[in-house]
Assembly symmetry: C2
Homo-oligomer: 417 residues x 2
């Protein structure tokens, strides 16, 4: 017998017919002899509807009251899943965030989970009940409802799994696992059996939005084994413990599971950044901090940075990327600080893509980056910037060349299925 | 300074634009120097939507989980009203049923309020905040959400007013008060300035569904002064304490307010009953209980009963009314018990209406009933059954004659405006 936390997203919970499908999947896990807790999202579209109500009510909304409104979406689906489980003969009950409680800090609308009291769930599971828990919500020390920020239900699920010391946290999504790259771009993309937390973090942060990044960090910290699965599997399929999803595991576990693993795990593409170029910045101490200090204060997240040699000996060009959504604010901040920075020209380019190759294997292998640069150069793709981490190499290219670059790297690293 | 509880129904809360209107009305009461708590319903249509989800999920739903789902509607409007009040410069916060808490028994889906902890609301109001409280919901001793049954928000408002020892409970509805009769039937219907709790109970139970009957009983028991008002008043009207609604008061208070009051307060019509006739029932001891015992066991509420002389000396005909919605079940119960009751024939007639004249004044005046029978007889309207209480006379007639009967009684008792 294992203890399993299952999580279903908004698409899986959209309407009573789909909830019936979810109930079938959950019920089968219990019938296989496992203790089961389920974490659910609101019906897809519902949170948007509630957020819009709040915006209409008060453009500068009080996040504490916003939380009261938007947390209701998960309350509804929790009750409905419990009802549906009962209708197919399972014992089930819902446990709202304030009933357990799931304690969070008081950063309303973006709260962080501090602790989860598991006494009630454990007792409930011991009685043979399936515990149904709304994701996304919690309770402050002074008894007010909080929410964890958009996509927070993944984090709720991992936190519940950690608190329950669950054997596994199964995240059911509208994809059936983590792929070597986006299957819509590369037909030969392969589903990965296993991926490490760190790889998942790098893949998530560069565009493979299968899981909320925060939930992966938490899983890594709490050593929760997370499995990504499709909720659109055959309803009558056996409740195998080894459903054909992707398991997210630690480095150590991966080595045991997958000795013959490829050097590179996956290729990710991210078109959500924009490039900013400051021309002829005086090359003096403090020049760089005069640029990035004000941006940091404005909470703008700068990603890749390169400093070129400028046209004169005393000048330099500084290029960096920011989220495209923050481009207007970035330009405003830089123009405000023009006199301090003393750049000659400010230009921007939203038409860029960041392509990353990710893999824990590259730690012990030289030449991964070189292979990437060569593969791109051979096809005449110009690299505008480079950044690396221990398990990732990223390059910035013209966004028109995204699909071409992903395809040829997928082949170059031997990932084609 | 007064302490006022204001209650707004689903029509008033239907969408952020209407909630903005409500916020204006509430804000003006506070600006007039009063302490204000507001009780709100879900947006109109929302509770139906949630109830339908529950039915789809599980036809025989667990009322505890049903409550989790349907209580969310009032949670949403509470948060939205608090946000909207803040947006127009008022201090406000929502207090959910479980946060106060509002304690109820554990009869899920039809719970009764046992007590309301007012410490938090009182402290909140003392800080100058408007307390926004969802109607319809409460909390059991073991921390589960309950709801009070459809229309329960009126009861919530009266209970909050009683617990807060409020000077007044203002119920804003889509009508602007209690009328001598339905203004859609009688153009000359007048709005009543005052009506007693007992009159309101009789009027409510015979079809003037301005307030939930339960809320009126509670107001009478707890001596809460209730005022019925329209929420569609001019948003910029002054926050007069004497808005032109109808005040529901005790007999004693009424005497002080309205010395020259009419004998009869109002005329009500109710088409929701159906008539059942059992022909040739043996006239023996126990005959009547053999009919009404099984109906009571089936939770069918029998209203008017008349026993005619039958065709033979030893026979009697028994006629009675039941809610039209229960007619099929009533017939089934009677047919099941045919051998015990030993009636000859069972016939039914859903085409009946109960017309009632109501007024505390009739206690001390003879001849009210006689005037009614004469007025109806003069126009050839046949009376099929009669029932009376201390402050009400009701007759059952053909439903086709409802409007005619109401109009002529309204004139006969001098109620025309």
């Amino acid at each position: 017998m294992a203890r399993i936390v299952m999580k279903f997203g908004g698409t899986s919970m959209a309407g009573t017919e789909r909830i019936r499908r979810v109930a079938g999947i959950v019920r089968r896990q219990q019938e296989a002899g496992h203790e089961v807790a389920v974490v659910v999202s609101a019906m897809s579209g519902e949170t948007d509807r509630l957020v819009n109500f709040c915006r209409e009510a008060n453009a500068l909304y009080d996040p504490a009251e916003y939380d009261v409104v938007v947390a209701s979406g998960e309350q509804v689906t929790s009750g409905l899943l419990a009802l549906t489980l009962q209708s197919i003969g399972a014992k089930a009950r819902s446990w709202l965030g304030w009933q357990l409680p799931i304690r969070t800090d008081d950063a309303h609308a973006k709260a962080r989970i501090e602790s989860i009291d598991t006494d009630e769930i454990l007792a409930s599971m011991a009685r043979g009940e399936i515990a149904v828990i709304p994701g996304f919500q919690g309770l402050t020390a002074d008894n007010r409802i909080t929410t964890l920020g958009r996509g927070g239900s993944d984090t709720s699920a991992v936190a519940v799994a950690a608190a329950l010391k669950a054997d596994r946290c199964d995240i059911y999504t509208d994809v059936d696992g983590v792929y070597t790259t986006d299957p819509r771009i590369v037909a030969k993309a392969r589903k990965l059996k296993n991926v490490t937390y760190e790889e998942m973090l790098e893949l998530a942060s560069v565009g493979s939005k299968v899981l909320q990044t925060r939930s992966v960090s938490l899983a890594m910290k709490e050593k929760v084994r997370v499995q990504v699965l499709s909720s659109f599997i055959d309803e009558n399929a056996p409740a195998a413990d080894t459903l054909p999803g992707t398991m997210i595991v630690s480095d150590e576990e991966l080595e045991g599971l997958d000795m013959e693993r490829q050097l590179i795990t996956g290729i990710a593409a991210d078109k959500n950044d924009a490039k900013v170029i400051l021309t002829a910045v005086p090359d003096r101490p403090g020049a760089v901090s005069s640029i990035f200090g004000p941006l940091a204060e404005a909470n703008i997240n700068v990603d890749m940075i390169i400093q070129n040699v400028g046209r004169a000996d005393t000048d330099t060009d500084v290029t960096f990327t920011v989220p495209a959504a923050d481009l207007d604010r970035t330009v405003a901040v830089l123009e405000e600080n023009r006199e301090t920075i003393r750049y000659e020209k400010l230009s921007t380019d939203p038409k860029v893509a960041k392509i990353s190759v990710v893999g824990v294997g590259m730690r012990s292998h030289a030449g991964v980056a070189a292979m990437m640069f060569k593969a791109l150069a051979d096809r005449g793709i110009n690299i505008q910037a480079i950044s690396t981490s221990e398990i990732k190499v990223s390059v910035l290219i013209d966004s028109d060349e995204t699909e071409l670059a992903v395809r040829l790297l997928h082949t170059a690293y031997g990932l084609d299925g």
